[in-house]
């Protein structure tokens, strides 16, 4: 007997009798003999106590460092209540809400999630949800290519190179061509856009804050795009949207991004959650699940998955995306985070992150080992500097004090080997800044 398998000897005998066979093995009679596999070479069954011991042993081989970097994964604070609520079995163990009568819980939080993403981005309709920010951007690329029936797009090279790399993979197999737009002083350039955006392009994809942490200014972008029927996709960290001008205000047709920064644990890179929101007119080209409000047969308010005829399970090979349900529990996570923080808390957490980042930035520049890389645009919570010392020396000095950072941008092919990136969140304190500065002063 095993704790997850309730079958007693008597149960098995009675069941076999009903079926009319004399052994469970007989239920595999249709499997060719030559295919039958014996004896999995796997570890033996572990009791719970042994599992804890085993994980402790693995943990002994891990040093958790305090991140002073981001690069797409930010160490923000998670309010305690979230874990407790999302682990309620009603949320945790249920399936995709195909039976709406007994899935109103899931459907309601999806509706609330859509409403909140819409509030943050200013867009008319949001889906729930996508795998991560990078694949969400790839889905946005498919979407604008399908809307404009064009197979070419322009992508700013200030987007995080990992996102560009995912875009290139998806584009290659779908037969889409990507042209890269050059930056000026670390931000997407209007002049370059004017020079390079053509009738052949379905649209433009940009990111703000970008890979260098800089806030981009899209004044004039929409006009250039509209002249050639180009669509505008903005990838934006949603945690900045209590402060910053919304994608909608810049004229975006589609807003996407990574919502990990809304309190999701780092968890070595996943699970995270991508969001995608657009103008209502484009809903039929949108990927993923969308929940709508309706009534039941007695007139009660209720929720249901809607616009399903866009999706793969109905359109099959004619669907614009192969996305099914995904990351739903993380949509709940984000919804509870945003409900808990509210408009003020989201602003305050981002403000603390920004204050810490600017303080660290200014203090680092007082040291003789750092210089600015770009001039002009302000950053948000992440910034790029030039190190006059070998980057690994700087990293080792911080790691000795338990910090992870700075990130060496050359690992992503950016800069000349001296560019480094730091990021701060509301979790980093005055003491952190002092420790970091002291550790680096020792190198001078």
């Amino acid at each position: 007997m095993f704790k997850y398998l309730p079958h007693t000897k008597e149960d098995i005998e009675a069941m076999l009798k009903t079926i009319g066979v004399d052994s469970i093995e007989a239920l595999y009679q249709d499997v060719p003999k030559s295919l039958k596999h014996h004896d999995l070479s796997l570890p033996s069954s572990h009791s719970e106590l042994e599992l804890y011991e085993h994980f402790q042993a693995l943990a002994n081989d891990i040093d958790v460092l305090k991140p002073v970097i981001g690069m797409g994964a930010y160490d923000h604070y998670t309010p305690s209540i979230i874990r407790h609520i999302i682990e309620r079995q009603e949320f945790l163990t249920s399936y995709t809400p195909y039976q709406p009568e007994i899935s109103q819980g899931t459907l309601q939080y999806i509706f609330e999630f859509q409403s909140m993403i819409s509030q943050l981005t200013g867009m008319e309709i949001a889906n729930a949800s996508l795998y991560d920010g990078a694949t969400a951007t790839a889905e946005a690329m498919f979407m604008i290519c399908a809307i404009r029936k064009k197979q070419r797009i322009l992508v700013s090279n200030t987007i995080n190179p990992n996102i560009i790399s995912v875009l290139k993979t998806y584009a290659h197999y779908k037969g889409i061509t990507i042209d890269l737009l050059d930056h000026h002083e670390g931000v997407s350039s209007l002049e370059a856009l004017k020079a390079h955006f053509t009738d052949e392009h379905a649209g433009l994809i940009v990111q703000s804050p970008n890979v260098f942490g800089l806030i981009e200014d899209y004044a004039g972008f929409k006009d250039v795009l509209e002249e050639k029927q180009g669509l505008f996709v903005i990838n934006q960290d949603p945690s900045t949207l209590a402060h910053l001008k919304t994608p909608s205000a810049w004229g975006a047709d589609v807003a996407v991004g990574e919502a990990q920064s809304l309190g999701l644990p780092l968890q070595f890179g996943g699970p995270y959650i991508g969001y995608l929101a657009s103008k209502k007119a484009y809903v039929r080209k949108m990927p993923g699940r969308i929940c709508g409000m309706t009534k039941d047969s007695e007139g009660k308010r209720a929720f249901v998955l809607t616009f399903q005829a866009r999706e793969q399970h109905i359109r099959r090979d004619k669907a614009n995306s192969n996305i099914c349900s995904n990351q739903s529990l993380l949509a709940l996570f984000v919804t509870i985070y945003l409900a808990t923080m509210g408009k003020k808390g989201l602003y305050e957490a981002a403000q603390l992150s920004m204050d810490a980042a600017y303080t660290l930035h200014d203090r680092l520049l007082e040291l003789p080992i750092f210089e600015p890389v770009f001039s002009g645009q302000p950053f948000f919570k992440e910034f790029t500097l030039k190190s006059t010392l070998p980057v690994n020396m700087v990293q080792e000095a911080l790691e000795a004090h338990g910090y992870l950072g700075p990130y060496d941008l050359h690992e992503m092919g950016l800069g000349d080997g001296s560019w480094v990136s730091f990021a701060m969140t509301e979790k980093r304190t005055e003491e952190d800044v002092e420790t970091i500065i002291k550790a680096l002063e020792a190198l001078v």
Partner: protein, 125 residues
């Protein structure tokens, strides 16, 4: 199942009504019935060209989607705007509510469609 006489029908369940060299195109009662409650009709734009036996739009119900195939070729001179806000008109009267009006390019295409009797028999198969 209603199948009015005087219209021409395609195997893909669209109908054409010919008037003064123009063809009005819609879907049949059989088609709207099989789809169920229609929630969205996607149509081409005026001045687009449609080609016989190729897709010119799509019609969606709650749990199905079906491409619309052009029974005739020509330039679209008008679309039925009412369907954008009231797709349920297709369920209410699929013959009154045409989808596109096409300037017929090749009147002989009509001859290759079915008449009402033939189409009724086709649907019963």
């Amino acid at each position: 199942m209603k199948t009015p006489k005087g219209l021409y029908y395609a195997e893909t369940h669209e109908w054409v009504k010919v008037e003064d060299g123009f063809g009005y195109v819609g879907i049949s009662d059989y088609a709207q019935h099989s789809l169920g409650e229609v929630v969205y009709v996607e149509l081409p734009e005026e001045n687009d060209h449609v080609t016989k036996d190729t897709e010119f739009g799509a019609v969606e119900s709650v749990k199905a989607a079906s491409d619309l195939m052009a029974p005739v070729s020509g330039v679209v001179v008008a679309i039925n705007d009412d369907l954008e806000d009231s797709p349920e008109l297709i369920n209410e009267d699929p013959y009154e509510n045409w989808m596109i009006k096409v300037e017929l390019e090749d009147p002989s295409e009509i001859e290759r469609l079915m008449n009402a009797e033939e189409y009724s028999a086709f649907c019963e198969e």
